[in-house]
């Protein structure tokens, strides 16, 4: 009985843990995060160290094989994964935060001065070709760390979040249920929590996941062009090196396929979480 009551009270949680997409996505994503956390602890090598003979396929000593120069691919991948996740987390957070604030404020004051100003700014950022801006900015900064890269990526990622959040706020504002709560003399905090925040939350969460994904992809893209962090390693850099050394032509599948696969799995798992959560939050999409 107590168990049943618990699930009744935490209905969303129940739908979340019984949604196959969410379970699959979360499992894969957590596995990748675990790899990024524990991988660097278990590997005996350093990612820049020449760990053994070059051109070695996966073996007991080198789980993901070695590069042409004899660096350990597993070590490079797990260290690279750390910084890639960090960039995604930082850039995704910054972009979502800016987009949320800008979108919410301009939606709230729709048609008034703050809205017109913020939307003009958003549109300017939107039409700037983001890759060009990224290349120019990156090229001008002699030293680039993870934080710099995250800020650069976030600067071009926030506008579409802002637009999406604005239109969501607008449509919430015109919803009669907010008015119904008002004429029910409901406490303001209840209206904000249940009518506005709850209806925004699922959206915000998804925006965040999409931003996380998008920023990881654009930072990998930057690294691939040689415009990543000036020091350190990341998944994009691993892939860039592999391509520079013609790894695929040389039959070194472990150097390209493995990091590529991990990157793909990460992105796909987040998409699964995203669509699964949509079903959880939105009663319309629940399979009853």
């Amino acid at each position: 009985m107590a168990v049943k009551d618990f699930w009744k009270r935490h209905e969303n949680l129940y739908f979340a843990v019984s949604n196959k997409k969410v379970i699959l996505g979360v499992t894969v994503f957590l596995a990748i995060v675990a790899l990024a956390i524990f991988g660097p602890m278990v590997t005996p090598y350093d990612y820049e160290e020449f760990a053994g003979r070059g051109y070695q396929p996966p073996s007991k000593e080198h789980w993901f094989g070695t590069t042409i120069m004899g660096r350990d691919v597993f070590t490079q991948v797990v260290f690279g994964l750390r910084s890639t996740l960090l960039v995604g987390f930082l850039a995704g957070t910054i972009a979502s935060a800016i987009g949320l604030v800008v979108g919410f404020v301009s939606g709230f004051f729709s048609g008034k001065a703050p809205d017109e100003g913020l939307m003009a700014l958003t549109n300017i950022f939107m039409v700037i070709p983001s890759l060009t801006l990224l290349i120019i900015l990156s090229a001008y900064l002699p030293y680039r760390g993870i934080a710099t890269q995250a800020i650069i990526v976030a600067a071009t990622a926030w506008p579409w979040t802002a637009r999406a959040v604005r239109s969501q706020t607008l449509s919430l504002k015109s919803q009669e249920f907010v008015n119904l709560s008002r004429i029910s003399a409901a406490p303001t905090f209840r209206i904000i929590r249940e009518d506005i925040a709850a209806n925004m939350f699922s959206y915000v969460f998804m925006v965040y996941i999409l931003q996380f994904n998008g920023t990881i992809l654009s930072s990998v893209g930057l690294e691939f062009l040689g415009l990543g962090p000036t020091r350190g390693i990341s998944l994009g850099l691993v892939l860039q090196n592999a391509v520079n050394w013609n790894a695929l032509h040389l039959g070194m599948w472990w150097w390209t396929i493995i990091p590529g696969l991990i990157l793909t799995l990460m992105i796909v798992s987040l998409y699964f979480i995203n669509t699964g959560l949509d079903e959880v939050f939105n009663p319309r999409l629940r399979e009853m």
């Binding site: 048609g111 119904l180 004429i183």
Partner: protein
């Protein structure tokens, strides 16, 4: 019938609402223009007008969801703009309630429909112990089967069911004024009649008055004691229902009554309906009148004679 000896429960004076939008290219929409009327206890007043004429806007101002650009609204002779603080607002909403035009967006999609009742209990009736039983009772009054509708999500119910849930919600409270915006638009003819009769019953027994917003002339005639005709934000004619329906003066009102199809009367290509002709008739009507503002046709019938 309108009982002039009683004090009005709600009095609206020169109510005006102008919407503005845009900063660089400012646009103004005059949704409501100098509207005045009075509502008396126990009566049903219908507010009739074409789409976009400003009916909903008037209702929203009475419900304090929109602030009037000009004009005043008095509830029991108190200016509602002077209501201050949570407590005064709560007492106002205990007496003045509404049912909105769009039932689908009146429910928060994330919550079961019971929430709209719970909010009423939480705020206005915190001492009620048997909430569920009381809810079932009002649901049966609006001809809903409680088993079918309670504990459902809004998207699982039809527009007509949602509309009746909202009516039931308003009936939980002992309201003095009900703003009913197209309240039965989604109901079939027989359920409609049931609801209308229920409303009329309640008005008679409790003295509730209803502002019945509609564009259905037949319904207006059936239910209301008093009729107001609205055109482009202005009240063009108002009076006791029988007088307005049997002796319409304003050309817009006349046109409205002409354009109602009779049962058993088929469309005829020779009877063309020309909107420009109506505008011209209205303009000529205003030009031919020497009087300003409203003319009193009888003690309970007024017509707008000219725009100034």
């Amino acid at each position: 019938m309108v009982d002039r000896k009683q004090e009005p429960i709600l009095r609206v004076e020169n109510l005006t609402k102008v919407f503005s939008s845009g900063v660089f290219f400012r646009q103004f929409t005059e949704a409501v223009r100098e509207v005045s009327f009075e509502m008396y206890p126990g009566t049903i007043m219908s507010l009739i007008g074409e789409s976009g004429s400003g009916k909903t806007t008037i209702g929203r101002m009475v419900l304090k969801l929109l602030r009037p650009t000009a004009g005043k609204i008095y509830f029991q002779e108190q200016d509602i703009a002077t209501l201050r603080g949570k407590a005064e607002l709560r007492e106002y909403y205990r007496r003045v309630q509404g049912v909105f035009q769009d039932p689908f967006s009146s429910f928060n999609p994330l919550f079961r429909v019971d929430r709209v009742f719970d909010m009423v209990y939480d705020v206005f009736l915190p001492d009620v112990k048997d909430r569920e039983e009381r809810t079932r009772e009002v649901l049966r009054k609006v001809n809903l089967n409680p088993e079918r509708v309670l504990h459902q999500f809004p998207h699982q119910l039809s527009g007509g069911q949602l509309q009746r849930l909202l009516i039931a919600r308003a009936l939980l409270l002992d309201v003095k004024v009900l703003i009913a915006d197209e309240l039965i638009s989604m109901l079939d003819a027989s359920t409609r009649m049931g609801i209308l009769n229920l409303l009329a019953d309640i008005c008679q027994s409790t003295g509730m008055s209803v502002l019945f917003i509609t564009h259905d002339l037949a319904l207006g005639y059936y239910i209301s004691d008093y009729t107001m005709i609205m055109h482009r934000g202005r009240l063009v004619e108002q009076g006791a229902t029988a007088e307005v329906y049997h002796n319409p003066i304003h050309p817009y009102t006349r046109m409205l009554f002409r354009s109602v199809p009779d049962i058993g009367h088929r469309w005829d290509p020779k009877e063309k309906f020309v909107p420009e002709q109506v505008s011209r008739e209205i303009a000529e009507f205003y030009a031919s009148n020497s009087g300003r503002g409203f003319a009193q046709v009888s003690s309970s019938h007024k017509v707008l004679m000219s725009l100034d």
